[in-house]
Each structure stands twice: as structure tokens, then as C-alpha cells.
Symmetry: C2
Subunit: 134 residues, 2 copies
């Protein structure tokens, strides 16, 4: 949560990952951000909610929003409430993970141990490789 929001967005862009997991000091996931939701960090709320407003903003100023992210941490930039946290324990089945991804629209699911500490993550491409008949 102390990471600069711009650093998080750049990481997502440069590594072409499916999303980001935010962990607390103990390594427990507190947020899972699918790539599309990371866009919200750099966009004013009114712009996401109303397509007409997004359209009228001068194109030349589009990157101003993202430039401002350099001065804000994830904690500043993320909305307070987050909905269902897509996390599974180490006994989770493939179907359970698939259902969770479909329900939350999140293509990245961290796996946690009994203390809630992240031990790994499953991504959608990996899951599809498991699920699809050979």
C-alpha cells in the first residue's frame, strides 16, 4: 500500500501481467487488482462512470492524470471498499478457482496458507491449461 501508484501501473505495463496483488507487512493479500481496475488508479471517477465526460477531455491532457500518480501511493489512490477478495487456500480445487475468476472477473488468484500469507498465485492462462482436455 506504500508503493507509488505510478510504480504499480508501470510494472503492470512493462511486465504485461494479468494483475497485481497488494500485500500487507506480513505478506497477506489485502487487494487483488485485475489489470483493467489498475486503470482506475489514474482516471478520475467521473470519467469512468460517464463516457460523455471522458470524451470531452482534451486528448493532450490524457497523461496528466497518470503523471500525478507519481506523488500518490496505492493507499491514496485505491478506493476504500473492494468487494470480494479473490483468494484461495492451498486445498482449493481447479473448479473452485475457475468459478472464483469467472465471478469476480479477476484473472489472478493468490493462494494463501493457514495464516493468510501469500504462498503463490494462479493465473487464468495456467488454469485454462489445467482445465482444457488434451
Amino acid at each position: 500500500m506504500d508503493t507509488a501508484a505510478l510504480t504499480a501501473v508501470r510494472r503492470l505495463a512493462s511486465e504485461r501481467v494479468t494483475g497485481l496483488v497488494v500485500v500487507d507487512q506480513a505478506g497477506r493479500p489485502t487487494r487483488v487488482l485485475p489489470a483493467t481496475q489498475v486503470l482506475r488508479l489514474g482516471l478520475p471517477r467521473y470519467c469512468v462512470d460517464d463516457p460523455t465526460l471522458a470524451r470531452v477531455i482534451d486528448e493532450a491532457h490524457a497523461d496528466v492524470f497518470f503523471r500525478e500518480l507519481a506523488d500518490r501511493t496505492l493507499s491514496d489512490a485505491l478506493p476504500r471498499s473492494a468487494g470480494e477478495l479473490p483468494v484461495v487456500d492451498q486445498d482449493a480445487t481447479v473448479l473452485e478457482i475457475a468459478a472464483l475468476m469467472a465471478r469476480t472477473g479477476c484473472p489472478l488468484v493468490p493462494v494463501v496458507d493457514s495464516r493468510g500469507v501469500m504462498t503463490g498465485a494462479v493465473t487464468l492462462p495456467t488454469l485454462l491449461d489445467w482445465l482444457l482436455p488434451q
Copy 2:
């Protein structure tokens, strides 16, 4: 819509794309499926909606659902209603596309001409390259 659902899911898995665009005979987008929503094609509805049910299904039978997709077309497998179709015209601004992706959770937005025919598409990684300050 006449494509076998299994073919569509395999294409998504093998090419590691961000989603699929379904077009009609005239080349007009009728559905845009983010990768996570493609999972719904192979999962029973009760399984997506209720995590407990997904968990009790025998792991050995997990790929049965996906094997059955070989006999179904996208038209058979997709739900009838689809919500907002994330499509933009050729005059769309970068911010407009970013807002659309954030709102719909869809990392893939087809671009259409004045007749509604798809002429290209913008993906989230490309969009981030445009938006992020150098």
C-alpha cells in the same frame, strides 16, 4: 456465433490473448468476451454463483465440463443478455477507451467504422503504453 465453444476457449488459451471478439456475418462485433468470462462457457452456472458447490465437485470430473464444449457453438454456450458492448468508433479518445475498459472490466475494445464493422481493436497493454508518461 457458429464457432465451436471449445475452439474459442482453446484459441484464448494457446494465444494468451486478452479476450475474444465475436462478430456477425457482416463483421460487426456482437459480443466481447474478456478472458475470465470465457471461463463461464465451460462452467455450470450454479458453480460460478456458489463457491461451495464448485468445491464439492470431484476434481477428476473438472475437465468434463470443458470437454462438452466441443459439441456446443458459442451461440449455444453464451448467455442471451450481455450488458454494455464495449465498442468504440474511430474518433474515440484514449481516455474514453480507458474509461470504457475500467467500467466494463474488459481489457479488449474493438474499433468499428460508421457501419459498425470491426476495423481493429485496442488492448489494455497498448493503451497503458499510450497513457503512461515517458
